[in-house]
């Protein structure tokens, strides 16, 4: 075992974790928020830079087969770190405004990020379990940050109870897989996989656990409540980084560990994808609270992501990866602007009625929110469109035309609720004169960068797509469809 090599292979995660511990240490001796914030940003940028470099580097296993580095894992790490970095950048001002800026928050974000990185690089069920729980436990804390308000405490409790409940299923799934194959390492499980019931039940329970975490219907009940009760910028973190990490792990599991010979996994995913898309989009139609609306929209997006997974082709997997990046960029942006408006008015400002006339009052913010929402709705030439395009193209090429048609129709329905905030912002007169605070330079700058990325990847998607596709070329064998 070569420690230097191992350390290097998981360096982004190590940086994030160590920075998190140092942040805790600083916080317990000195209430130095500037220092902690600076440390967080610097360490996330360093980790991000490293994982971007890894994306182009070699692929392999490290830490005695615990994790893989390079390729899909490196891309997953990049997406997670992008989400984390942008959320931290917009969090400071917002948390200060709602008077909940604690040093621990940054430490929690860093440690959760480290868990996510472990999850996205996992090559062993133990790493999946440990990474997932590190992430979840830190997120429970963040969900309960506004514990003085009923809404915050309730969000934390719901998230916690359902999360712990789903952990039970996940762990039982792992136990049964272990029983069926005698190993916890993903490649070894794939080798020893058989279609006996123990294996199928284990894989099924594992998938249920994952469906809980990515909030796929019918395991989505916690999502809207938790998203609403969590401070908005941290909701963005929860919705993007944690979902990306979980989905990358899900891709690793589905693509590497579940051979098509054992059961019709593709059909299971297809069914879940269909009900997730339909239900997520339909319930979102009636939401008046913009955070709940975004929560249901994130459920629907989980459905689109599952479409790519259900396609089960290399194309589908790379499409899901691209979609994760797209989703992260536009969702952090949308939540960021919701946070901006909320910051002005207080916590109950997330009702869509309050957005009346704001588009012209704060023109730049209004335009940016429109761009993010159009992108979420999948209107070209924004990044969301190409994410959806790739996912549905993968499904069509895998002969799942019905799935693609349902997905497309569901996303047509989604346009209605994405248009609603814009209808209020631009087409209605403002209720009352509300004084507006100027947003800080970091906050504004972050959102502008996100807007530019939304447009940039919508137009110049080719290089990234080719890189992602290259992860699945060569001797890559896909198990899911058995071809």
């Amino acid at each position: 075992m070569n420690y230097l090599f191992d350390l290097n292979a998981f360096l982004p995660g190590v940086i994030a974790g160590v920075a998190g511990l140092i942040a805790l240490l600083i916080d317990s001796y000195k209430n130095d928020h500037d220092g902690i914030y600076g440390l967080t940003v610097v360490s996330l940028i360093a980790a991000l830079g490293l994982s971007i470099i890894d994306m182009f580097g070699p692929v392999g296993e490290a830490w005695s087969g615990m994790i893989t580095y390079g390729g899909v894992s490196a891309f997953g790490n990049t997406v997670v770190l992008l989400g984390a970095l942008f959320c931290v950048l917009i969090s400071r001002e917002y948390l200060k405004a709602i008077e909940h800026e604690f040093g621990e928050v940054y430490a929690m974000v860093l440690i959760a990020t480290s868990g996510m990185l472990a999850l996205a690089s996992a090559n062993n069920l133990i790493m999946i379990f440990v990474g997932l729980e590190t992430m979840s436990i830190c997120l429970y804390v963040l969900a309960g940050l506004i514990k003085e308000h009923k809404i915050g405490a309730e969000a934390a409790l719901k998230y916690f109870l359902l999360g712990a409940f789903s952990t039970g299923f996940l762990l039982y799934g792992m136990a049964l897989l272990y029983g069926a194959t005698g190993s916890l390492s993903i490649p070894e499980i794939a080798q020893n996989a058989s279609s006996n019931l123990l294996f199928i039940a284990g894989a099924g329970l594992l998938l249920v656990g994952f469906f809980f975490k990515v909030s796929a219907v019918p395991f989505h009940m916690w999502t809207p409540d938790v998203y609403q009760g969590t401070p908005t910028t941290l909701t963005a973190y929860m919705a993007t980084a944690s979902k990306s990490a979980t989905f990358v792990a899900l891709i690793l599991i589905v693509s590497k560990m579940l051979p098509a010979e054992t059961a019709e996994w593709s059909e299971v995913l297809e069914v879940i994808a269909i009900i997730t898309m339909i239900l997520g989009n339909i319930i979102a139609l009636v939401q008046d609270n913009i955070k709940r609306m975004l929560a249901y929209s994130s459920i629907a997006h989980a459905g689109y992501l599952l479409v790519g997974l259900a396609a089960g082709t290399p194309e589908g997997y790379s499409a899901v990866l691209f979609y994760l990046l797209a989703y992260t960029i536009m969702n952090v942006g949308a939540f960021g602007i919701v946070a901006y408006y909320e910051r002005q008015q207080g916590l109950d400002f997330t009702d869509v009625n309050n957005y009346a006339g704001l588009g012209f009052k704060r023109p730049i913010m209004g335009v940016m929110l429109s761009i993010f929402l159009f992108s979420l709705a999948g209107i070209p030439p924004l990044v969301g469109f190409f994410g959806k395009y790739l996912v549905f193209a993968a499904a069509i090429n895998a002969d799942m035309i019905a799935l693609a048609v349902i997905g497309v129709l569901a996303s047509a329905a989604s346009v209605y609720y994405y248009l609603r905030p814009m209808v209020y912002m631009y087409f209605r007169e403002p209720h009352k004169d509300v004084p507006f605070v100027q947003a800080g330079i970091t906050f504004k700058g972050t959102l502008i960068v996100l807007t530019i990325l939304t447009i940039y990847f919508g137009v110049a998607f080719g290089g990234l797509h080719d890189l992602l596709a290259s992860y699945y070329s060569g001797d890559w064998v896909t198990h899911l469809t058995g071809n």
Partner: protein, 100 residues
């Protein structure tokens, strides 16, 4: 000699009792304890598989699951205390501010 199936069956029974408990009880602490029961049941499965194969990996997972259960308990009980401060109750049927 009892076969390994019996250990697994015991584990399955405990797991299902845990599930039913989570679904029907309304005291958040009891629900949480039922979750712990579920985790314990899983641990039993893991240990019996581990013994069956003579392979230590399963026990390692149990070890991690214990550590995580401890971390979860700390955070979970803190959350329960926070909700009690707000509601003066840990009855989840009274926690209904947030609805779809």
């Amino acid at each position: 000699m009892i076969s390994i199936d019996w250990y697994l069956a015991l584990s399955a029974i405990l797991f299902c009792i845990g599930i039913v408990g989570v679904l029907i009880r309304k005291n958040a602490i009891v629900i949480f304890m039922c979750v712990e029961l579920m985790l314990n049941a899983v641990n039993l499965s893991l240990v019996s598989f581990s013994s069956h194969y003579g392979n230590v990996d399963g026990q390692i997972l149990v070890f991690f699951s214990l550590a995580i259960a401890a971390a979860e308990a700390v955070v979970g009980l803190a959350i329960i205390i926070a909700i009690f401060r707000n509601n003066f109750s840990v009855d989840i049927t009274q926690i209904n501010l947030l609805r779809w």
